[in-house]
């Protein structure tokens, strides 16, 4: 098993892990959540079956929609496939395309995907899809400063904003882990992830109440393969954000430091295990809190903003 892989092959494997592993993580979260609520719940592999079923179906569009409606799911998916090239998914060392963009660049690409989906939803003329996209953009505008401040924290800690460097800094010594700036920035990022993946303080993930929907309302008018790609894309986005949180901020261990096939395979398994563990935490949060009222979401984001601002204060002014 000491076959060493070419860097480009590992790079492809990073994208493959995210895309193929994402439905598994979603399935695990759904199953754990169901078990916590005393239900049996769907199979762990159910998201794969859902996607396979949707891909076989016919695609329909509301009358009056243009080509953008058809292209948007694929553009969004392309964005989600680009981000895993930039962040440490399987390896501790940077792969050839890893310096193509920093954390901020990855954030921009994710924002582009979200924008494209929102425009496609707005184009349909359906009231709920438009509601979802306008809400997503409204609240997205106030989570953006939090992400920027988290990136600033990273920049002050490492003097760069490359995710690989922060992961290495966190691994380097326990001093880096207990410093308040790192903990505060991680907590703020976790809150942003709850927001971005549409988890419970913000919206009910499996909800059927249209009035509370933000993320879930946007693909209302898409059907068949296009709907499948949108769903798959949002699962991939969830795993990308989990990976960023785990492999850069909280648990940058268990990644491959060599190019050996065995190490890379082990890294794949460990990444999925870590993501499932984080998913269990999120499922517990899902089951123990109530959804916030729509106008209380700003308070949730303000709390994340406070954490990020304090991180900057302790770091820049306090020297912590």
């Amino acid at each position: 098993m000491n076959m060493s892989l070419a860097p480009w092959l590992i790079q492809v494997a990073q994208v493959g892990t995210i895309v193929l592993g994402a439905p598994l993580v979603t399935g695990v979260i759904a199953r754990v959540e169901a078990m916590l609520q005393g239900r049996h719940g769907p199979r762990v592999l159910q998201p794969y079956y859902d996607l396979a079923k949707l891909l076989r179906k016919e695609a329909l569009a509301p009358s009056g929609t243009g080509p953008f409606f058809w292209i948007a799911p694929f553009v969004a998916m392309a964005c989600y496939l680009t981000v895993p090239l930039l962040i440490p998914v399987l390896t501790t060392y940077a792969l050839p395309l890893g310096f193509m963009g920093d954390i901020l660049g990855g954030g921009f690409i994710l924002a582009l995907a979200s924008f494209v989906v929102a425009v496609a939803a707005a184009e349909t003329g359906d009231s709920y899809a438009q509601l979802g996209s306008s809400r997503a953009k409204t609240f997205g505008a106030i989570t953006e400063p939090v992400v920027l401040l988290v990136v600033f924290t990273v920049a002050i800690v490492t003097t760069t904003d490359l995710p690989y460097v922060l992961g290495a800094t966190v691994r380097s010594s326990p001093d880096q882990i207990v410093r308040p700036a790192h903990l505060l920035a991680s907590a703020a990022l976790f809150m942003v992830i709850l927001f971005e993946t549409g988890r419970i303080p913000i919206e009910t993930h499996t909800g059927t109440t249209e009035f509370g929907m933000i993320e879930e309302a946007r693909p209302f008018e898409h059907s068949g393969p296009h709907f499948a790609v949108l769903r798959w894309g949002s699962m991939a986005k969830q795993l990308i954000l989990f990976t960023l949180f785990l492999n850069v901020f909280v648990a940058p261990w268990g990644m491959s430091s060599t190019r050996a096939l065995g190490d890379v395979l082990l890294a794949v398994v460990l990444l999925l295990a870590k993501a499932c563990a984080l998913g269990c935490v999120i499922a517990v949060i899902d089951c123990s809190f109530a959804k916030l009222r729509l106008f209380k979401i700003t308070e949730f984001v303000a709390a994340a903003f406070l954490l990020a601002v304090l991180a900057i204060f302790t770091l820049y002014l306090g020297g912590g």
Binding site: D175, V309, F313, G318
Partner: protein, 223 residues
């Protein structure tokens, strides 16, 4: 590779505990229920006692164990219990809205906390017990407690704000003078007990006269 020297594990832990105290102060600013506010104060006092224990074990100052035990018993158990007991007679549960909305209050508090960080970093105080960041954080706790006292218009929040201000002051004393004679610290704690009695009398008299805990009625000089 790093922009600045990294604090040690001990410093980082102490700083993190101090950050938790500051975050609890912000939570007090946000919480609307009076009982929740008193409970937050109890938790904050507990965290300050934990900080004292951490300093005692990390820097080998055995007197601080006694101080931590005493401040835990007094501030995390007796004082909250007393306030909750006093509040049992008053039927008010919810603190009236402050002078500003919650979001604006938080923004003001963030600015005030930033001021604390700026000023303390300019003062250039170094302690051999705790890092300077903990000093900035404790000064920020004191200032945010002032914001709480000024913005809220009910007696309980103002009293809790005053007590949590004392928490901030005792954190400052941990940073600046951890080896302070124990008798002085104990004197401060009993000072707090006097303040609790005074505030208790104030709350009762105010509630007896106006049948509310709000200070918004106290704008005229003669009743």
């Amino acid at each position: 590779m790093n922009a600045q020297s990294v604090p040690s594990v001990f410093d980082g832990t102490a700083n993190t505990i101090a950050v938790v105290v500051l975050l609890l102060e912000f939570l007090m600013l946000r919480s609307a229920l009076l009982r929740a506010q008193v409970r937050l104060y109890a938790v904050q006092s507990l965290v300050v006692s934990i900080l004292a224990v951490v300093v005692a074990s990390g820097r080998d100052v055995p007197e601080l164990y006694a101080l931590a035990a005493l401040s835990f018993a007094l501030k995390a158990v007796i004082v909250p219990w007393l306030i909750l007991r006093l509040m049992r007679d008053a039927s008010t549960e919810i603190a009236g809205s402050g002078a500003l909305g919650v979001a604006s209050e938080i923004m003001v508090a963030i600015v005030v906390a930033a001021y604390a960080f700026f000023t303390v970093s300019l003062l250039d105080i170094h302690s051999d017990v705790l890092p300077a960041t903990a000093l900035s954080l404790s000064v920020a706790v004191v200032l945010v407690a002032f914001v709480l006292i000024i913005m809220r218009r009910d007696v309980v929040s103002q009293a809790v704000g005053f007590f949590s201000l004392e928490n901030g002051v005792s954190m400052v004393s941990l940073v600046v003078a951890a080896g302070m004679p124990l008798i002085l610290e104990v004197a401060f704690l009993f000072d707090l007990l006097v303040a609790v009695v005074v505030f208790g009398v104030l709350m009762r008299v105010h509630h007896g006269r106006t049948h509310s805990l709000s200070t918004a009625d106290l704008t005229r000089l003669r009743g």
